[in-house]
């Protein structure tokens, strides 16, 4: 298997994976969505809330706020040796928020949340939590824990994890009337027409929708859209909780772990 990086930044990773197959790619995708753990606020204790939003709504908004996650120093609550419902230092982070509008109406932002661990903070400082009118107060304590996306979407480390086949476009050599209908209909503008000649401008943008083939006045169309059977373009967009490459690594690790568990179960049953 070969991997080629197309694009990589803090939140986005786009790679070409060669010599892979659908089951593997789909396993990685599903693990990244549902099994890779990340941190999110799970419990909120309201100490004072005189804002116009209800306690539950504020708690929900806090829960959805993505937190930067440190997977090495924290355990999943189920796997933590403390086995306590309330959690311990290894499976829980306490965050506090104390805001008051003294002079005028103001917005309370996620940047005002104070964490006991300076590493576990909201990924962005400018998420509005609530708006307070003058003399309104919001005081709360929140407990963040690791969790999995299959339990609640707030624990999904990725907002998008998708793969598609690598497109293979064969341009017509002869038999083409150069009507450029295929180029006009393409919503991704894959084709370019220069001096009446058709060429491929951005191959990777092709979604294999086949609109161009159907738009061709000739039947069968001399234009051929195919795909490489074992080459994929994978796109991972992180919420910021974990870097996208880390999500990919964790997904791979989890796949190995799950397969090992399966193997041991088979051995134990002496099948």
């Amino acid at each position: 298997m070969k991997i080629e990086v197309l694009e990589k930044n803090d939140t986005n990773l786009r790679i070409i994976v060669k010599d892979a197959d659908i089951p593997l790619m789909n396993a990685i995708r599903r693990l990244a969505l549902a099994e890779v753990p990340c941190m999110a606020i799970e419990e909120v204790v309201m100490i004072e809330n005189s804002s116009i939003l209800q306690d539950e709504i504020i708690a929900h908004r806090l829960g959805l706020t993505p937190l930067k996650t440190d997977l090495a120093s924290y355990n999943l609550p189920d796997e933590c040796p403390c086995q306590s419902e309330f959690g311990c230092q290894q499976c829980r982070v306490t965050l506090t928020l104390d805001a008051e509008a003294k002079d005028a109406t103001r917005t309370v932002y996620s940047g005002e949340i104070v964490s006991e661990n300076p590493e576990i903070i909201p990924v962005s400082d400018t998420i509005p939590i609530v708006k307070l009118a003058k003399n309104q107060k919001l005081k709360l304590e929140a407990y963040a824990r690791l969790g999995k996306g299959k339990v609640h979407a707030k624990w999904q480390p990725v907002s998008m994890c998708a793969y598609k086949y690598y497109p293979k476009i064969t341009l017509p050599e002869e038999d083409c009337e150069n009507c450029s209908k295929c180029a006009d209909i393409c919503s991704k503008r894959v084709f370019a027409v220069k001096d009446g000649k058709l060429s491929v401008r951005s191959l990777l943008d092709c979604t294999l929708c086949m609109d161009c083939v159907e738009a061709c006045p000739k039947n069968p169309s001399p234009l051929k859209i195919e795909w490489e059977k074992n080459v994929f373009i994978m796109n991972i967009e992180s919420t910021g909780a974990l870097p996208p490459e880390r999500v990919l690594k964790e997904a791979y690790k989890l796949l190995g772990k799950q397969l090992n568990e399966f193997e041991e179960l088979i051995k134990a049953e002496q099948l």
Partner: protein
């Protein structure tokens, strides 16, 4: 009521872009161009910002007025 923290459909964080989005829209910029420059690509996330109405501002006006009235009472 207030801008949602994440996109309903895909879960991308959109709440943190609201302030910049609404500020730039008010200056008369084209909404599509602003969304492009904020890096919001999918239409599920774009509609979150495009279709949001901050009703909380309307509700807060009642509280602001009540506060003003209270202050006026204390003044005399």
């Amino acid at each position: 009521m207030i801008i949602p923290v994440r996109c309903f459909t895909c879960g991308k964080l959109v709440g943190d872009r609201w302030d910049e989005f609404s500020r730039r829209i008010k200056t008369g910029e084209n909404a599509g161009d602003v969304l492009d420059s904020l890096g919001i690509k999918r239409y599920c996330c774009r509609r979150m910002l495009l279709s949001n109405v901050e009703i909380i501002d309307e509700v807060l006006r009642f509280y602001e007025e009540a506060e003003k009235r209270k202050e006026a009472r204390n003044f005399y």
